[in-house]
Structure formats: structure tokens, C-alpha cells
Amino acid sequence: MLYREAGQFKSTYAQDQQIFPILQDRVAVAALLVVAFIVVPIVGDQYWLAALITPFLILSLAALGLNILTGYAGQLSLGAAAFMAIGAFMTYNAVLRIPGIPILAAFAIGGLCAAAVGIVFGLPSLRIKGLYLAVATLACQFFVLWALNRVGWFSNYSSSGVITAQQMSILGYPIATPAAKYLLTLSVVAVLALAAKNLMRSATGRAFMAVRDMDVAASVIGIPMMKTKLLAFAISSFYCGVAGALYAYCYLGTVEPEAFTLDLSFRVLFMIIIGGVGSILGSFLGAAFITLFPILLSVGSKWIETLLGIEMSHAVVSNTEAIIFGSLIILFLIVEPLGLARMWQVVKEKLRLWPFPH
């Protein structure tokens, strides 16, 4: 009843092609942005901002990056965390070595360096596919961490290989409080998410999807294979790189290469599997699920302990988390390979007809 597009007529092509063709969607997105930009920083306390929402947004961006490559262009990758590491370390170096560089430019440099490495490790995708490509990107994961650990230049010859994010400021305004860091993260993520959404509606995005669906057919109709695949690697790595820079600068503050292990790559992959492969919204849903669920579980176990008086050991809670994640991933792969985003779409379709489905 609420979600019905009856009466919304589109009289121009522009109207027909806008990002959110339905009025209710536009209102919802605008409301969401208002809440995220204005209400959350006012209402949210430090714990929510610094420990829950900021990492959720950052990992959403990483998931979005991987989704562009894996979900839209069909190239399986296990190197998301490596690209994040490059973004973090090169942003650090940019700020360190270029005096007076604006922080956003440093993020962009971090992202571009990740994109360059992404192109190099994307080259095997021209010859190999599927599982074999995943193994090639796995090599990227190990090689990058090895290089960051071994080459002292990346961490400015720090004895422990750790980098500490420098202080940030934008136009003289210091970004130091959790709320400021949250707003910076949110702005970057919102802009990049909008860019990704638009990219996927453009010719490039359609080329990505054509390659994903059947690369032989795509090359027959004239889509340049090399350019398209490498572009997908570059854009995806750029997104992951910026996410890594935010991870270091707006979340952890101090990072060592070990923060970006294969474990994180897998987590980002799980995000898009649970959230939805080939969906912008899915990246956010998946990231929310994977980052917030373990915390919910551990906080929830405390509630159960105090309410029911049962003591739950930490081993049980942590192992439950692994068990639930494992089963959910299998469940999603079998029942709903397109993830939470597809479920949301189904709900929307049902809502359009509700309460009169016939």
C-alpha cells in the first residue's frame, strides 16, 4: 500500500533512467542520508561511532570494491585485504613524504597505488579463470604482505613494521574525534558508493556484466577483453585501497601488515556472498552482518548470562560465531546465492502488490 508506484508517470528518458525511479525509494534514500549525516553523529555515543558504525562503513567499501570485481565482472579474487594494505601503507607514505598534502589526496594516492598493483595482478585474468584466478590473487595477498614486512621503506624503517596514522585535518578543521572520523568515512563511502552505482549503469558496467556472464560472447560482440578485465581490477583495487586507508586512519589509527591477513580477505568475500554478489546494497548488508553479528553475539551472551544465570564460556560464544557463519554461508550458497540483497528485492516486489497480490 505504502510502496506502490501507481500514478508515478515518467515522461522523459531522463526520468526513466534515474538511479531510483520510484519516489518512495528516493525519499527513503534521502532520509537515510539525513539520518546518517545528521542524526547519527548527534545521537550515537563514542562506542557506537568508533567501534561499530565506522568499521562497518569501511568494510562496506571494501566489500563494494570486491563486489565490482567478483560480483559484476565475474573475476574471483582473494586479495581484497592485500589491496587494503597497499592503500593504508601508501597513504601513510604519501602524507609522510609529500609535505602539506591534503588528506583526501593522500587517500586517492593510496587508492591509485592499489589500483596499479591490481592491474599487475589482474594480468593473469586474461588467460586463466575461476579457481585458478583465485589462486593467482592469493599470490598477490601473500606477496604484498611479504613486501610490506620486508621492505623497510613502506613503514619508514619502523623497527616493528608498524605505521601510525598521522593527524588529519581538512581545510584546517582537525579530524580527531570519533564523530569527525565517522563523518569523513561516511562522506568518502557515500561518494564512492554513488559512483559505483552509476558506473554499473554505464556502458562500462554493462561490459563488466557481459564479461561475467560469458566472456567469449562478450568478446564476439566487440567488448575489449583486456581493457575491461583490467579496468575491473583497477577500479576494484582502488575501492579496496581507499577502504584500507580509512581502516588505518579513521579506525585503528596504528596498523601493522598483520591487520590485513588472508583472514580479512575471506571476511570481505563472505560479506559479498551473504550480502549479495553483484549488488551495491548487498555489499552494505553483508558488511553489516559480518561486522556486527559477532559483537551482537558476544553482547547478547552477556544478557543471556545475567537474565538466565547461565554462564557461557568465551570459547562457546566464539565457536558459535564460527559455526553460525559457516552454516549461513553454505545456506546462502544453496538457498539464495544472490544473498540478502536479493531477499530485500523479493520483499520489495511483494510490497508493491501488497495487500492485494492478485
Binding site: A51, S159, G161, E258, L307, S318
Partner: protein, 440 residues
Amino acid sequence: MNRKLAAAAAILGFAINGAAIAQNEQFVPANFYWVGPYAPGGSGFGGGIIDYMQMLNERDGGINGVKLTWEKCETEYNNARGVECYERSKKKGPTGATVVHPLSTGITYSLIEKATADKIPLISMGYGRTSAADGRVFPYVFPLITTYWSQATVLIKFIGQKAGGMDKLKGKKIAFVYHDSAYGKEPIPVLTDMAKQYGYELIPLAVPHPGNEQQAQWLQIRQAKPDNVILWGWGVMNPTALKAAAKIGYPRDKIIGAWWSGAEEDVLPAGSAAKGYISAGFNAPGSEFPVMKDIKKFVYDKGKGEFEDKSRFGSIYHTRGVVAGIVTTEAIRLAQAKFGKGKPITGEQMRWGIEHLNIDEKRLKELGASGLMPTLKVSCMDHEGSGLVKFQQWDGAKWKVITDWMEPDRKLVREKVEADASQYAKEKGIQPRDCSKDAL
């Protein structure tokens, strides 16, 4: 419906109750780890500190009537989880988190700035950033008792002693097998500097996390035939290394472990392969110390102990946690004496307490911990406070202490600490404190 109402009432009742009793309490977060490849260390250390606080609550009713409270949070030795646990715990209790023991070098690094901004002291006892020993630049960070760099100098000294004098080190080969993380890399600059000074050759061999694959590293050791191996491992990496050494026939008494490589949990899984292995330590194992007997009597005999497996009682990690408990509660006691007895103290006051800690032999005796830990005297200049290290050897059934407390090369360590700290201060734009002024 009724059930829902009852649940709501229960929640409400709990909330009111919680508010009513949360007045005279001192909250200490227990952000450790009970799962994963590093769980033996995390659960042992965490168990020790909680057992000690529980014992004080049961025996003395807390500290001057202020009950100690804590809440566990699982960090999984993971930086991101550690930060989340820190953020979750910092506002709990009437005065917020009193002090945080991150129990991970990586998490310590991630928290240095956050904790300094929140005015919550960090105690990284035997781990963390070594240069934080310079209290002028790091007012809120305390790498208490001893640091990695101190330990590295003592390790080389010990090897020199065994060889019959430091001049005998010339031309020797020492392999350094380390956990490839901030933790393992931290001592490398000191070891290379000392290599130049004493003329030994250092062969660094990195073992990636979590360390259960070491074939390649030990093959290199077989080729290079070093005179000694320094094992700087953590968790599952330690028994794996000992087993790998046994496989290539490298003598175990030539392997000297760091203190995070020298607990029962590190040698027992290796079985007979561990016999003869030597490691450093800054606390002694054992259940015969008076303080341990008190923990047995007031906590374990009442069924409130942290360990289900009673054989872990008095193990190295357990007593190390007890030492952490002693350091924490002594600092609380000191801060209470200055800022008001019988009242919970804030993080800022706790910082003052830690900085003025002076645990001498007499106090150790009163605490029933003579020989459990070295004496400790912290100051604004020196946030380490002791630097002493002991060595112990595994005889196949238990750890036997084989040396007295050994002094580190204080001059070398201090020089490097000050150089690193001043570089950090410059990068961060921190104006180092003036230690002659005793500010809060």
C-alpha cells in the same frame, strides 16, 4: 504476553539493581582471548589476573572496601576486535576502565593514541612498544617490569656467559627465529646493533602467523649451523619450532626462548622434543608462593577459579597473570592513598598510581610474592621499572630456574628508547613532559 512482561520486568529490575550496586566498585576490563592459536597465553594470563582480583575480593573485601569488578571480552588476539573491546569497556563501571592490559603487541600499538586521549592507562607487561618506557612522551603507556629490548640484551648476555665471556661471541652465528609481526620484529634493531658490537652474525628467520609451518626455516638452520637459536615465538609456533628442531637434530639446549616462548603450554605439546630447552622469564612458576596458596584457599577451594583444568594452576602464564594483578591492584592502592581511600579512582589517578609504583622486597614479602617477580620502581622517566630477566630450563616435567635475576644493558636500551620516543614525539607533534614537575 505474561512471559514477555516478566522478561521486561526482569531486565528493568536488573538495570535498577545494577545501578544501585555499581557505586563502590573499581572496574578493570578483562580483554583477553580464550580461543584461537594464542589461547593458552590469553586464557592463562587472563585467568591469573582475574583469580588474583577475585582473591582480594574474597579475602579483603576488595581494596579498602572497594570491590574489584571486571568483564571479559574476547579479542582473539586481533587488532580490530581488541579496539572494539576497548571501546566497549572504557565507559563501564562508576569511573570507567581503570587500566587496560591489551595482552597483544599489535593491540597495544592500536590503543596507544586512543587510550592517551581517553586518559586510560595501558599496562603492557613484557610486551608492547618498547620506547613507551620513556614516560615523557608516553604518559599513559607502561611497558612494566621489562621490555623486548631489555630482554634481547639479556639473551645475548646469557649466550655470551654460556660461551665463557662476551668476547667469545665474536664469529659466532646466532639464528633469530621470530613471529612475523610487530611482536617478533621489535627486537631486531637491538640484536643487529649488538651484533656489530660483539661481532656475532645474526641470521633472522621470519615465521608467518600463526607459525605451524616451519619446515623451511629449520632447513635453513640446518644449512647455516648456528651456534645458538633465539626463539621469539608465540602460541602454537613454539612447540612447532621445538619439534622441527628435534627433527633436524638441532640440540635443544642451544635454543633460547623469549618469555612468550617459555611456558608449560609451549613445551608440553612438543613432548620429549622440548627437554633441555631454555627460555627467559620475568616471573617464576609455582603454586607454593603464599599468594598462590591464598588464591587456592579463597578462590579455587570455593569453586570460583578461572581454570577448569586444575593442572594449569601455578603455571607460568597463570603466575604471570597474578603478577599483572599485583601490579594493577598495588597501583590502585597507591592512587587511593593519594586521592581518597575507599573510593573508586579514575584512569587519570590510576596513571599517577602506576607512575609512583615502588614494589620492593619488603612489599613483595607482605604480598606473599617474594621470588615470584622482580622488584619494581616506576618513575616518570622510566615506565619500565625493572628490566630484570631470569632464565629457566625445561627438564621434561617442569621449568627449573637456572639463573638469578640478570641485568639488561641499560645504557644501550635507554639510548634506543629515547631516540625512538623522540622520533615518535616529533612525528606526532607531542611536547615531552618535564619530569621534574610532578603533575597529575
